[in-house]
């Protein structure tokens, strides 16, 4: 049943993945206009810009992660069948990542080409995204559960996610520099922390929602 939930949510996410991916690419192409077409500047700052675009793209799907299921009573059904809220939250994180992480990592390829990143930086960017996007998905589900049904949920979600995502951005961008992988380790530590904590925070929020 949990596998079914993940499959359904992931399929739904993939179908709607066009929106965040398109946003990610459009945002990435805006940076050259903002800072000028200096190829050296773009190549040195491009990785960080792609990280920022990924962060903003992660905000887009938040509103449709939990709210439809809460409205349709799916969450109540799951609770009645004895599935813990934490399990539902964990399933939602996994499904959200499946529908969001890989498409974003693929979209980073043309994004990197547009900004003229070299191959080694692209490799480090993809490694960072592979580690960081699960945490972005975890944050997304948690904040989605916190803001279900609130006035201006979308803007609120952005306000809540961004400060929590600062360490991901710092270490993700730090890992773009050639180095001994220290930043990547810290990124992994932060991502593990966020991903491990998310089912409990989101689960508690789902439980509060049913009251």
């Amino acid at each position: 049943m949990i596998a079914g939930l993940i499959r359904r949510d992931a399929r739904r996410g993939l179908r709607a993945a066009g929106l965040p991916v398109a946003f990610f690419l459009v945002a990435a192409t805006l940076f050259p206009f903002a800072v000028g077409p200096d190829a050296r500047l773009l190549a040195s700052a491009g990785g960080g810009m792609l990280w920022l675009a990924a962060l903003l793209a992660a905000l887009l799907p938040i509103e449709r992660l939990v709210a439809p299921d809460a409205d349709a009573g799916v969450l109540d059904q799951l609770a009645m069948r004895g599935i813990a809220d934490e399990t539902v939250a964990a399933a939602k994180v996994a499904a959200h990542w499946l529908g969001f992480g890989p498409p974003l990592m693929i979209a980073a390829l043309p994004g990197a080409a547009l900004l003229g990143l070299d191959g080694a930086t692209l490799g480090r960017l993809e490694a960072g995204l592979a580690i960081g996007t699960p945490a972005l998905a975890a944050l997304g589900v948690t904040v989605a559960a916190l803001t279900v049904g609130l006035r201006g949920a979308g803007a609120l979600a952005g306000l809540v996610v961004l400060p929590l995502a600062v360490p991901l951005l710092i270490f993700g961008a730090g890992a773009l520099m050639p180095g001994d992988g220290q930043a990547l380790k810290l990124l992994a530590a932060t991502a593990l922390l966020l991903t491990a904590g998310a089912p409990f925070a989101a689960g508690a929020a789902l439980r509060a929602l049913r009251e």
């Binding site: 004895g82 599935i83 813990a84 934490e86 399990t87 964990a90 710092i170 270490f171 730090g174 180095g179 001994d180 992988g181 220290q182 930043a183 380790k185 810290l186 992994a188 530590a189 932060t190 593990l192 922390l193 991903t195 491990a196 904590g197 089912p199 409990f200």
Partner: protein
């Protein structure tokens, strides 16, 4: 599986992840996410000339030389283990002086030679009135 058991499994997985995160962070902490490189780090890591970095340490005693043009200074940044020659053109903060902490933003132009765009003064956590400071205070090293 009952809801309680599901929670238990998730808690165990989360605890495992926390331990892994702590291990990763401990193995990585120290160098990265540092605000600045110490001279020894910069020389050891072979920071590429031209790459923008911050270099931090103490201004070596007796190394501060003002060029004839009046605004360019040469000094050495040391962390006790290594020292790097640095050059800066512009106005320095009041607290910038020999034997005191400094963080220089700039780039290496050659191995061991640093050109700073910005000079920041770093002070330590000691505060005292001048009359005490004169007799006993001397910053020996900048705690990393």
């Amino acid at each position: 599986m009952k809801a309680k058991n599901q929670r238990l499994v998730l808690t165990l997985a989360a605890l495992g992840a926390l331990v892994a995160a702590a291990l990763l962070a401990m193995s990585a902490l120290r160098n990265q996410a540092s605000f600045f490189y110490s001279p020894a780090d910069a020389l050891r890591d072979h920071v590429r000339p031209g790459q923008a970095i911050r270099l931090g340490g103490m201004v070596e005693k007796g190394s501060l030389v003002r060029e004839p043009d009046g605004v360019t200074i040469d000094f050495r940044v040391t962390d006790g283990a290594a020292s790097v020659a640095a050059r800066y053109t512009g106005i320095v903060p009041d607290l910038f002086r020999e034997g005191s902490g400094v963080v220089a933003e700039g780039r290496f132009v050659a191995p061991g030679t640093f050109v700073a765009d910005t000079i920041l003064a770093k002070h330590d956590e000691k505060y005292m009135p001048p009359q005490i400071a004169g007799s006993m205070h001397e910053t020996k090293s900048l705690k990393p």
